[in-house]
Amino acid sequence: MIDSNVIKKDFPVLSRKFHGKEIIYLDSAATSQKPRSVIEAMSNYYENYNSNVHRGIYQLSEESTDIYEKTRENVASFVSCSARETVYVRNTTEALNLLAYSLGHRLRRGDRILLTEMEHHSNIIPWQFLKSKGVELDYVKMDADFNLDMEDYSEKLKKNPKIVSVTQCSNVLGTINPVKEMGSLAHERGSVFIVDGAQSVPHMPVSFRDLDCDFIAFSGHKMLGPMGIGCLVGKLEELKTMHPFLGGGDMIREVSYEGATWNDVPYKFEAGTPNVAGSVGLSAAVDYLRNIGMDSVMDHERLLIRETLKLAPEIEGLVSFGPSDPEKRGGVFSFNIGSMPAFRIERELEAGNMVVSGSVHPHDVAASLDQQSIAIRSGHHCAMPLMGRMDVAATSRASYYVYNSIEDVKNLFIALSDVKRLFAR
């Protein structure tokens, strides 16, 4: 079992006080805080090893190359893949764009791509770019309990999408999707299967081998690591045959004024000077998480979500969005106080009720919690289409990680009852 109050001490930010109170950070789905060991690993790299990798024949550069490749092995082993399958990118967003651009080369007019209704913008927009080529997009529906409708999935798979790309865990709903099963079904249809692991890799055990997906993408900054580094993991055969994405140094084998040939995987996809310090930070984060154990991380967050779902009914009018079964969700809790439909004037005039009573706008919720030094997010969470689908203008969201305690959850709900009193009209 995790003792989050001990863990908290490893995270310098969390000792900051606002309005005389230590911050309760409940926005880890946006970005996680960093333990001292991660921050120090990067400083240590810059203070003792900093240099460019791969091409230097002097000790500093050889050490740097060695460090860089060891971080890759470490991160690869964390998600059970090989180092050669592990491409360093900036973040999940870049990884998914890389795939859209590179796999996009193979797509023709009329080819289909299958996504879900609960995707983050970064798993929607890159694919929408391909519409100009005549590629068509479908979205798997959710059921009433905010899980994917697997019948709808099977139905839409029948259209033989060339690519299926699905988030393993929704950053809004917390829904954990059955990506292993979905991957098998997709492969039966010959689709390339992509997993957006931005919210899963940081929070639960994830094995690339076990999932039988073709690609998985994740961001360092959401898993205790630094900003500016993330991974695209891909099957070797796929990576080898794919068109490169960014062109430049290190990703080539030979270049002439007429054309070029490509370096081996994964370097083929790592153009330009890489973020070695970032990789060092990510590797330290992986060590930190491994030391806790990903099973424990998951169990801990499940504990917090269970407490959350227990306390939620105490706030009158609270509406929450996400599966009712805590075993099927990650540590993400989206909610509203009262109904919060998008404003449409015709609808308002028709309803005749000029002011929605009893509801508190997510902005007011977040601002008011901030006065209590509780940091939550409010807005569309980069999932506007999902907001539309749920007919809400926005939601509030609390999201948990290893440094959050049961007390944090309790304090959240104490503060929420105040919010209600202050803002409801």
Binding site: F343, V356, H361, D364, H380, V392
Partner: protein
Amino acid sequence: MSEQDINAEIILDHYRNPHNYGKIANATGSVTEYNPVCGDTVHIDILEKDGKIEEIMFMGRGCSISQGSASMLTDFVKGKSPEEIMKVGDEEYLHMLGLELGPAREKCALLPLNAMHKALQERIRK
């Protein structure tokens, strides 16, 4: 109570009991302004007469800042000339509200003013 706190109370009052909420049937100008980041929306109808805003009504949904600001704005512009209103800049308006707001909330507070300016520009172009 600090001045800040008093101003916060004032805008909250407006939010709870908005002034001039509703539609103008024979509006001479109207506009809906929307902030996609949070969904805050303000719809403004104006009725101009003799170079002055004779009547103004708003409808909308959003946080206390955007809706309170909208209510205060309707009081503020009533009886003023379009030219006077166009001259009110973001800084000046925020100063008038007298709240200390972060960058995200500033956008909420300014949404009604932007809507108002747009409504007037539309009209001026006609």
